[in-house]
Symmetry: C2
Subunit: 372 residues, 2 copies
């Protein structure tokens, strides 16, 4: 089968590492030929994934198409779908998720619990919602990896808000931040991974370190799984979905947002689970049976993020030390340039001891640095 | 670092899947651009790995060079080494192993136990060694995957012998056939994997199914590990080496042969060990610390071999059934054409239960077929 990926970042790269185990001819489109996934596909096309013609022409060459980032031209995907290309996630599901206003309305319509919100058309609109503060302002289109999200504590901070269609969401007091990955095949059957629990780097709003399975009480676990499955079921699309949720101090579970693709919160599944999220997506695309989501061992995953103050040719500090850890798996994405906040790699640790996991995760986060 | 692989088969493919985790720019040379590894490298070169000029010109582009098959032009490697290219295994180690006569003389010189042998220059020479029968005739140069090896039971079978420089080796009564993989880094430190135990498909002399760790008594295990380390130490070369050995009914351990590269007997290390043999070779090449050879779980590995009587476009029979097995990992090499005896893929099963491993290995060997 000929299958294409829109986007050539690290998610594309890990998809292609998994694809190499199956009889699939891979196509990638991305602006930068030196991107992490560029050299691991059968056919690379230089193109703009936000451009209608580029996406359409790329998609016409393949039987199936998937994405590794939401910011793609959905109109072209709708046309390709009409013309018989299999697209996972479906363009309809992607359109719902891609626009944060539609995404929030979708949660309300199911309904699943998600923080209450209002929409703002421009920065000025914020003035009418002073009563909601403190709140989170999220741009409707184009946010990614912490970009397009800002916390507004009081009206003096409104200048930080987005002067474009956005949502203003009440701030949940977060006890835990978790994510659940769900796979759905062409027949509508689903498979669910155990929740991962996240600790964010406050400076960049990027995941710093993650434990899986999350340590949750049974009731919270059931709630989280039920909500994730409900969200994904209502998207009515095959594919892989990551449902990000908050647990508050009353053990309520709130949907934060959903990604209709392989996701950072599932990186540990490469080594820690029988079927990784990347392997799973190929099973869905190729019409194979869903894989086994069970964990082989509990895992911690540490993102390697471009260090503040460093720009230019990457130098990995502490790499040797990390490579000596008996139960750690190093993934460097091969990006030549580092910059503050850029995802440069990740490390997964597997262990049956939670203490071992958190000790090593902290050690790795402290030791391994992307500098220049 | 720029690193090249001579050969583009499944071993090259799995090397490149692992390389994608490290900052290495990969080069592959192989005659067939549609080979399994062809699309997973940064730079593919169509060329003949047995040709001096092709190997030399390819090697001049990279800082380090390795092989995924022994039948390469060693003379070009010697010159490249002189001109500063890092080559693992070293051309000297490769030259010793590549020629089965030199390889046997090497074992005798260490010494390590290896079945006694005589050399034959041509088929006629066999007549002088009737007293050695039954014996194994092995061609000195170019044997691979069971080609170039024949058992001669009596002199009526001499016509099956090779009319080229060969060795005639006494037949060991084999209780078990095992292999031990050893990694050696640039400083000469080594890391050893637990032995794998093999069951061969008699028709093709190809591995059919393999268990790791091998079930060996403590003394046999110690002997096997000591012999493997001794062989590799005397090769005086960084790299990955697979030492194949026989255990006879008196629990003697005999070296059969050594491969100076990643090896079929280490496929299970991808999922079953902390550091796979493929990851390990990159650590050696890139000058990183050696990885952890410990097993996460015991494993069985089943080769998917082109079914007798089928030639042409491959069709995988039983694939869906195998993909439903909870603890199985499927690797299809992406070869478009099947033919009898061709290695088309493999499946690894991991489990803490030996019974589960052998049950599923047998089931997979019975169920999954490469037909046309």
């Amino acid at each position: 089968m000929k299958a294409g990926i829109l986007g050539g970042g690290q998610l594309g790269k890990m998809l292609l590492q998994a694809a190499a185990n199956y009889p699939v001819e891979t196509f990638v489109m991305e602006k930068d030929p030196d991107c992490p996934a560029g050299h691991l596909c059968h056919h690379f096309f230089k193109g703009d994934i936000t451009n209608y013609d580029d996406v359409y022409n790329f998609g016409k060459q393949v039987a199936a198409l998937t994405i590794e980032i939401e910011s793609v031209n959905v109109e072209a995907l709708f046309r390709l779908e009409q013309e018989g290309v299999t697209i996972y996630p479906t363009p309809a599901a992607l359109a719902t998720i891609k626009n944060k206003i539609l995404q929030k309305q979708f949660y309300a319509s199911i309904p699943v619990p998600s923080p209450s919100f209002v929409t703002t058309e421009n920065r000025n609109d914020l003035l009418g919602h002073v009563g909601l503060l403190p709140a989170v302002h999220k741009i409707a289109l184009g946010g990614y990896d912490g970009r397009g999200v800002v916390i507004l504590k009081n009206e003096n901070q409104f200048e930080l808000g987005f002067d474009a269609p956005s949502i203003l969401e009440t701030l949940v007091e977060i006890k835990k931040e978790i994510a659940v990955i769900v796979a759905v095949n062409q027949a509508g059957d689903s498979a669910i991974y155990a929740p991962a629990e996240m600790i964010f780097n406050q400076d960049f709003n990027l995941l710093q370190y993650q434990l899986s399975p999350a340590s949750l009480g049974e009731k919270v676990l059931w709630k989280a799984e039920a909500i994730a499955l409900t969200v994904v079921k209502h998207l009515k699309s095959p594919g892989i979905f990551a449902v990000e949720m908050f647990v508050d101090f009353q053990d309520n579970v709130w949907v934060n947002e959903t990604a209709p693709r392989v996701h950072n919160s599932g990186h540990h599944t490469i080594e820690a689970n029988y079927c990784s999220q990347f392997d799973m997506l190929w099973r869905v695309i190729l019409g194979y049976p869903l894989g086994n989501t069970q964990a082989i061992l509990p895992a911690a995953m540490i993102n390697l993020i471009g260090e503040e103050g460093y720009f230019g040719n990457v130098q990995y500090e502490g790499l040797e030390e990390i490579l000596r850890i008996d139960n750690a798996f190093v993934h460097l994405y091969g990006k030549k340039q580092t910059r503050p906040g850029r995802k440069m790699g990740h490390v997964t640790v597997v262990s049956s001891s939670t203490q071992d996991l958190s000790y090593k995760a902290n050690m790795i986060a402290r030791t391994l640095k992307s500098k220049s």
